[in-house]
């Protein structure tokens, strides 16, 4: 077990190097440098430009800059934000809980709907329930999350208010005036989390249905049926538990998409998270912040994958044993 985790961590090293290098290359191999726009500015003095170039280390060759940057990164230093000169790490960590709250809630919400939907679809394979579920799932898969978010706002925040129905807040994380009790925060969470969940449901349902169908076809299920166990016990006692195992890994694999979705949803709902931070940074050309956030998304994703792998190997001993033998 420990060996498996260590090996898995070691596998992450080249991946991390690759990700950091890619991000570095994208930002640093731009034709022209961050100071080139300053050089066009007649008000900028040449000695200032010289000084900034040196401070940013732009006079050094790229590999030296990469190694320096990597060294700083290892110490948790992602540099200073170019807009307000606060450490990028602090700004990212400051909004991280918000993003995690949003993504985790949406994930839970999506699974809450997708698991029963997928399992019942598989148990009642080819029934009308299965067919309707398939139609819904196919439709959901084609909905852009940001459009869904806007539609939810229009319906539940704008139209419901017009119609005199109880309505939900359209944006923000809490009410500015009441400064947010728990109920208020939950109210603000409902729409963005639903918008993010709705687009995930399709994938999860499909996967769970397929996994459940595969499990139902296994020999031990037939054995359980043959020895006269009631159908309910076979499906939910035997098949269900085994069918859900691979889900652990898939949650890890789906993380890039979940975080990617958060980018847009945070923007629409003025949710003060990592995605919104990054997008504001792109508007002000705050490259250090964009780089930091991109890396952070990547780290978060890899960490999620790692966690999923470890959990899976705990849940299914065949995995770590199989890898150890190799």
């Amino acid at each position: 077990m420990i060996g498996f985790i260590v090996r898995r961590l070691l596998q992450m090293v080249p991946l991390l190097l690759g990700v950091t290098f890619l991000t570095f290359a994208i930002v640093n191999f731009v034709p022209g440098s961050p100071v080139s726009t300053m050089q066009l500015n007649p008000k900028a003095r040449p000695e200032d430009i010289e000084r900034i170039t040196q401070n940013l280390g732009l006079d050094k060759p790229w590999y030296e800059r990469y190694l320096n940057w990597l060294g700083d990164l290892l110490r948790g230093d992602m540099g200073l934000s170019l807009t307000n000169y606060t450490p990028v790490t602090d700004r990212i960590l400051g909004v991280l809980p918000n993003t995690l709250l949003l993504t985790c809630t949406s994930l839970a919400l999506a699974l809450l709907i997708a698991v029963p939907l997928g399992v019942i679809s598989a148990v009642k394979h080819n029934s009308w329930f299965d067919q309707i579920a398939t139609v819904i799932v196919t439709a959901l898969a084609a909905i852009p999350s940001f459009w869904m978010g806007l539609l939810l706002i229009i319906l539940f925040a704008v139209k419901f208010k017009d119609w005199g129905l109880p309505y939900l807040p359209a944006s923000g994380m809490q009410d500015m005036r009441s400064a947010g009790g728990i109920a208020d925060r939950i109210e603000h969470l409902i729409l963005p989390a639903s918008a993010l969940a709705i687009v995930q449901i399709a994938g999860w349902t499909r996967f769970i249905r397929a996994s459940m169908l595969e499990t139902i076809g296994q020999d031990y299920i037939r054995t359980a049926q043959a020895k006269g166990l009631p159908a309910r016990a076979v499906m939910y006692g035997h098949a269900f538990r085994n069918a859900l195992l691979p889900l652990v890994t898939l949650v890890g694999l789906a993380l890039p998409e979940v975080f990617g979705g958060a980018y847009l949803i945070e923007q629409i709902f003025a949710w003060n998270g990592l995605g919104r931070l990054t997008l504001n940074a792109t508007q002000s050309n705050d490259y250090t912040l964009i780089m930091g956030a991109t890396l952070f998304f990547a780290f978060l994703t890899m960490f999620g994958n790692l966690l999923a792998d470890i959990l899976y190997s705990i849940a299914d001993p065949r995995i770590s044993a199989g890898r150890a033998r190799r």
Partner: protein, 296 residues
């Protein structure tokens, strides 16, 4: 030998015909195909729609008639905040979105399948290096890299399509690699090798035809995803730049006044949704039609 190839060709033509027959039996897929064709015709005839139906150019603004509701002031589907005709812009936007997704998908397919075949064929070090590289790309949320790249380079949409393909090839390359490996170990490949077939010939004659259906199905899944991602980027102000309309930047513009003109939010999103849904459904039909194991 000559005759054998022509037989193989005829057989594959027969396969295509048989697949089409099976596809036609899938009513949902056929309806989806009709919807997609309608959307494509609508987008390609944007110029005609502008001249003969709406009478507005896509850039033509009438600030005094801004935010008209559908049907008001001769705007069939209303006007946006600059008083530009929504119907005309939907058609032009469709042209951009469809063209973009198709170009990006073709480029991604080319890169992904070439890498996949090389990795599957070469194995060993080449394979390991290429696949680790794919892992790196797969482990980063592609949207965040796209945001990073497009905020720095502000690419035009041809370049953006290329960037898409450079970031998103790993998905198909893994599939093609897996398929290549499994085909390479088949006895008939060995037989062809014994007969003196070169690697290029093996790939062109034996591997490619076998991977083609998978690539087609993959394209049907990924084109909707590309349309949505492009719309997302444009929605963030990083993709297709105004005044050129795209479904994504129309949504961006409309989200500022959804209180008064909700149709302006609804319509571009609906176009994205219908396009993505119809291509997905066609893909499902293709999968059933192309998988020979499904026969009978």
């Amino acid at each position: 030998m000559e005759r054998d190839w022509s037989m193989a060709n005829r057989a594959s033509g027969g396969n295509a015909r048989r697949a089409w027959r099976r596809f036609k039996r899938n009513r949902v897929a056929v309806i989806a195909l009709a919807v997609l064709i309608a959307i494509v015709i609508f987008s390609l005839s944007a110029g005609l729609i502008s001249t003969f139906i709406t009478g507005f150019d896509y850039e033509e603004n009438h600030l005094d008639l801004a935010r008209s509701k559908p049907g008001e002031h001769g705007y069939i589907l209303g006007s946006d905040a600059n008083g530009r005709d929504v119907l005309t812009r939907l058609a032009y936007g469709g042209r951009v979105s469809l063209l973009f997704a198709t170009m990006a998908a073709i480029a991604t397919l080319l890169i992904g399948s070439v890498v996949g075949m090389i990795a599957g064929f070469a194995s060993g070090w080449t394979d390991a290096t290429l696949m680790r590289f794919a892992d790196v790309l797969l482990s980063i949320p592609s949207i965040s890299i796209l945001v990073l790249v497009s905020s720095i380079y502000r690419p035009g949409y041809f370049l953006l399509a290329l960037i898409f393909s450079l970031l998103l090839w790993p998905g198909i390359s893994r599939i093609v690699r897996g398929e290549t490996i499994s085909i390479r170990s088949q006895p008939y490949i060995e037989a062809a090798q014994v007969n003196g077939a070169t690697n290029a010939r093996l790939i062109g004659r034996h591997i490619l035809p076998n991977v083609l259906p998978i690539m087609l199905i993959w394209a049907s899944q990924v084109i909707p995803a590309f349309i949505i991602t492009e719309a997302a980027l444009s929605f963030l102000g990083l993709g297709v730049q105004p005044p050129r309309p795209s479904w994504g930047n129309m949504l961006l513009e409309a989200q500022n006044y959804y209180m008064t003109n909700w149709t302006n939010v609804f319509l571009p999103g609906m176009m994205i949704f219908l396009t993505a849904l119809s291509i997905n459904l066609i893909g499902n039909g293709l999968r059933d039609a192309l998988d020979p194991r499904m026969e009978r």
